[in-house]
Symmetry: C2
């Protein structure tokens, strides 16, 4: 049991699921980073290598470093950990790159220490990493990464996370167009007020979406995957968004929206075959406008992180 | 089977359940009107008696009459029905007095005709009665009356109602202070815009409340029963509201808020004993400020209407 080293899979995540802006996220199964975490005698966190992306190695400038340090401080742990990160999730893609690293560090350390911390605590530590990445300690991506499945963040402060088991046939398709949208920019264009009527529509949809997830009612999930507040504003930053979305729906998707703050676009489908068809349709639109992109199809990852070795 | 007359119980309902403003309602079991509906040879709806309240008897000015006529027109039914109403729910109390009558008429007629109409259709007919009563064809009260249990109205137009089974130990307490608040007035004081931050808080709470209902997680239900948008504005119309609410919570209620557009105040509790204690606490505050009121304790009515004879 007392391993000195662990290699883990760190899932990508979709946050801001349509009507669940700022509260609803899910973990992906087939898209993610890898991380090796190793006990070391010296105190603190040492980021010893980052492969695949050019990111800061200094502990206090690295999300995994900051999250890990928050955990060690809370545990009053006097030794430390060395971390090697293999990035496959591109930073700025909108599928939780920083969350995978921040949450991965604390999840992995927790495993090496014999799981002294609850998932709730791990989310709180990982949020410190998110604070470094985006300026706000949000849990939208770290919560689904750590809890697995679908998570609803009822409140960030105090933290209150509700885990929802995904319907068994729910699949996600994600396309990542290779353009850059800064999270801070994509937050800046949002209005700070909304109409009460739009608010009612949004919470009606979110309540129904949660009910649809519990009842495994795919038609209800589909009807509820609407966002009349954020999507109309943010989607103007994503070339081809309307065509990609209508292509996804025409190919059978239950719904489609912006992942996180973009530019990635997600669709949810019933069944893997449909999710593959949806990927083709979404890719097709991006090919037509000659926008390089990645496309992924994944089941919803009910476990979150997992140990590879 | 082919009865010519039916006597039914018409449940009172709580709408606007805290964070579920305009979407979430529930049916009460022990508070309601009675209605006798009888086939008649002449076409149309005849309101032959109203006991307990002074309300218009003319078909086109009576909510049961209007709802019933909408149903007969849709069915192209050429004979008619006579309706006797015994009002126990006071109009203007905020627990669905008009909904009980409008929905009662169409539910009862549906029974006498061998249930040709779905619950969805019955809600649509009953909404015509609500339109007469309040100027808008809302489903907040008629939906829980007809479906029973807890209902979420995802959308009124097109109508989309989600039925949620109530947790088995959930009880409602309602106090009705004898003051008059017109629905139209209580709508007028609402702001037409809200902050995005308040909106996010509201839909986070509603999503969590729905999850709590499915998971029978009373602590989560309790944490989610918040309304930072409507309640702070409307509660100023209800004398003693803050004390009544804090009294209810101190007596063990999971949450407390304004029923419909007031002046009734509801609390939800786990278990009947707690609900009774909560009723005492709420009544106590109203007694102290010498405000006449009724107080009710009820299980959540999972059936909605029921046949008495």
């Amino acid at each position: 049991m007392s391993k000195d080293q662990i290699k883990i899979f760190c899932p990508a995540t979709i946050a801001n699921i349509s009507c669940g802006f700022d509260v609803l996220g899910l973990a992906l199964g087939t898209v993610g980073d890898e991380m090796v975490i190793r006990k070391m005698a010296q105190p603190g966190i040492k980021i010893s290598s980052i492969t695949g992306q050019d990111l800061p190695m200094e502990t206090e400038r690295n999300v995994a470093g900051v999250a890990g340090m928050a955990m060690l401080a809370a545990l009053k742990y006097t030794n430390g950990f060395e971390i090697e990160i293999t990035k496959k999730i591109k930073p700025g893609s909108g599928i939780g790159s920083s969350a995978a690293s921040a949450a991965g560090a604390v999840w992995g350390i927790n495993q090496l220490l014999g799981t002294p911390c609850s998932e709730h605590q791990l989310v709180e530590f990982a949020m410190e990493g998110e604070k470094l990445a985006s300026g706000s300690a949000h849990a939208d991506n770290v919560a689904p990464a750590i809890y697995g499945g679908i998570t609803l963040v009822r409140s960030s402060n105090p933290l209150d996370v509700v885990r929802i088991n995904p319907p068994s046939q729910l699949y996600a398709t994600v396309v990542h167009p290779h353009i850059e949208i800064k999270t801070s920019d994509s937050r800046k264009i949002l209005k700070t007020t909304i109409s009460l009527a739009d608010g009612i529509r949004q919470w009606g949809n979110l309540g129904a979406l949660v009910a649809g997830l519990f009842q495994e009612d795919y038609a209800l999930i589909s009807r509820s995957l609407e966002d009349h507040i954020i999507e109309p504003i943010r989607s103007i930053l994503i070339p081809g968004f309307e065509d990609i979305k209508s292509g996804a729906i025409a190919a059978g998707a239950l719904g489609c929206g912006i992942s996180g703050s973009g530019p990635s676009i997600f669709a949810l489908s019933k069944g893997k075959d449909t999710a593959n068809n949806v990927a083709k349709a979404m890719s097709g639109v991006l090919d037509k406008i000659e926008l390089n992109h990645d496309a992924y199809v994944s089941e919803i990852n009910t476990k979150g992180f997992r140990i590879l070795s």
